[in-house]
């Protein structure tokens, strides 16, 4: 693996770092462990970058590796206790601190709801929230389009219902 792939990973992380970070948050509640998971994802992408071919989009390629890496995290998640304090710090420029804190709390609530989903639904929910269509989700997860669509509907219903209650 040469210097070229290291330069390229910097571009990939600049473009998709936010997505990776959100996927990591869907699988891990502890911010410190989230950072480790994000690092593992980035490392796996860097290793796999030389094998990237233009058959799929780079975003799909990155999401697939991130999802695969997130699965590796599940065993650790099972062992850890579930309690986690909410981090309400968030810089604000345009809205009032109350609004910002409110949005942050809602975001935390959404992340918790996604993490509570069973793994097959969590996988599709994370990708759908990133803007992937059912067909792309099927490609990322290596499942049939029909299966992806069924899972996606269940995940959407579960999350929307959770947010209404």
């Amino acid at each position: 693996m040469g210097k070229g792939s290291l330069n390229k990973i910097e571009d990939v992380l600049t473009a998709y770092g936010g997505m990776l970070s959100r996927i990591a948050a869907a699988y891990e509640r502890d911010p410190e462990v989230q950072k480790d998971l994000l690092q593992d994802m980035a490392f796996a992408i860097w290793k796999a970058l030389p094998s990237f071919e233009d058959r799929s989009s780079l975003k799909t390629f990155v999401a697939r590796i991130a999802q695969n890496k997130a699965i590796t995290h599940v065993s650790g998640e099972v062992r850890r206790p579930k309690s986690m304090a909410l981090d309400v710090e968030m810089p604000s420029q345009n809205t009032s601190p109350e609004d910002e804190v409110g949005r942050k709390l809602k975001l935390d609530q959404l992340q918790v709801a996604v993490r509570e989903l069973p793994l097959p639904l969590r996988q599709v929910a994370t990708l759908a929230l990133e803007g992937f269509e059912a067909r792309d989700i099927a490609e990322v997860l290596g499942i049939s389009a029909n299966n992806a669509a069924v899972r996606l509907n269940r995940a959407k219903d579960a999350l929307i219902k959770e947010f209404k209650t």
């Binding site: 990973i9 770092g17 699965i71 065993s75 062992r79 049939s144 299966n147 929307i160």
Partner: protein, 208 residues
């Protein structure tokens, strides 16, 4: 408004909220990747160098010691060291491969890793036992009859044995923890693989 339009609107709100999560520090992330790569290579190189050092010591015993037993012990030592170097490479060869494209293959790779971890820990545990026997034999043959007469050798022996005991306890405890970790991870990954495949079967359209 239809149910699907309502769902679409609600989902769009959730999606927007989801995208608001703060971005991580990418420069720090790239730095960490470089450190991790360096650490993995350094550990591998260190283990190979330790093996080579052991081979050199054993070869010294084979070619420069006069007793026949030294030749036997040296030869066994060379064989064990070569085996250890080979094992160091073998246990990593599948782990360093690039990620496979499907999640099934990825999970299979993880199961393979946990199996390799179990083998690695088992090898270390057996290595400890063989190491104890080997060192005991070397000391018995080397110090036989003169342990009480030679104070310098006695001091060296005590110093060596304390160091060896600390090393041994460290390896034993570490190996048992590593063994249990890999065993439990293997169970979780197998269950995950089975769950995901079950889900796939359940959701398959019977008409397709």
């Amino acid at each position: 408004m239809s149910k699907s339009e309502k769902q679409s609107g609600d989902w769009s709100n959730l999606s927007n909220l989801w995208q608001e999560a703060p971005e991580p520090d990418m420069a720090e992330l790239v730095k960490k990747i470089k450190t991790k790569t360096f650490r993995m290579k350094a550990i591998f190189i260190f283990e190979v160098l330790v093996g080579i050092a052991a081979i050199i010591l054993c070869l010294f015993a084979v070619f420069f010691k006069e007793e026949a037993i030294s030749m036997v012990i040296g030869s066994v030592g060379v064989a064990l060291s070569l085996l250890a170097i080979y094992f160091t490479w073998w246990v990593r060869k599948d782990i360093w491969e690039a990620n496979s494209s499907s999640q099934n293959d990825q999970l299979k790779l993880l199961i393979k890793r946990s199996k390799a971890g179990v083998k690695y820990a088992t090898f270390n545990l057996w290595g400890c036992l063989i190491g104890v026997a080997f060192v005991g034999l070397v000391f018995f043959l080397d110090f036989k009859g003169e342990i009480n007469a030679n104070a310098e050798k006695q001091g060296f022996l005590i110093f060596f044995l304390i160091g060896f005991a600390i090393y041994l306890i460290g390896v034993l405890v570490g190996s048992v923890i590593y063994l249990n970790k890999n065993k439990s991870e293997g169970v979780v990954y197998r269950k995950l693989l089975s769950d995901l495949n079950e889900e796939e079967k359940e959701n398959e359209d019977p008409l397709t």
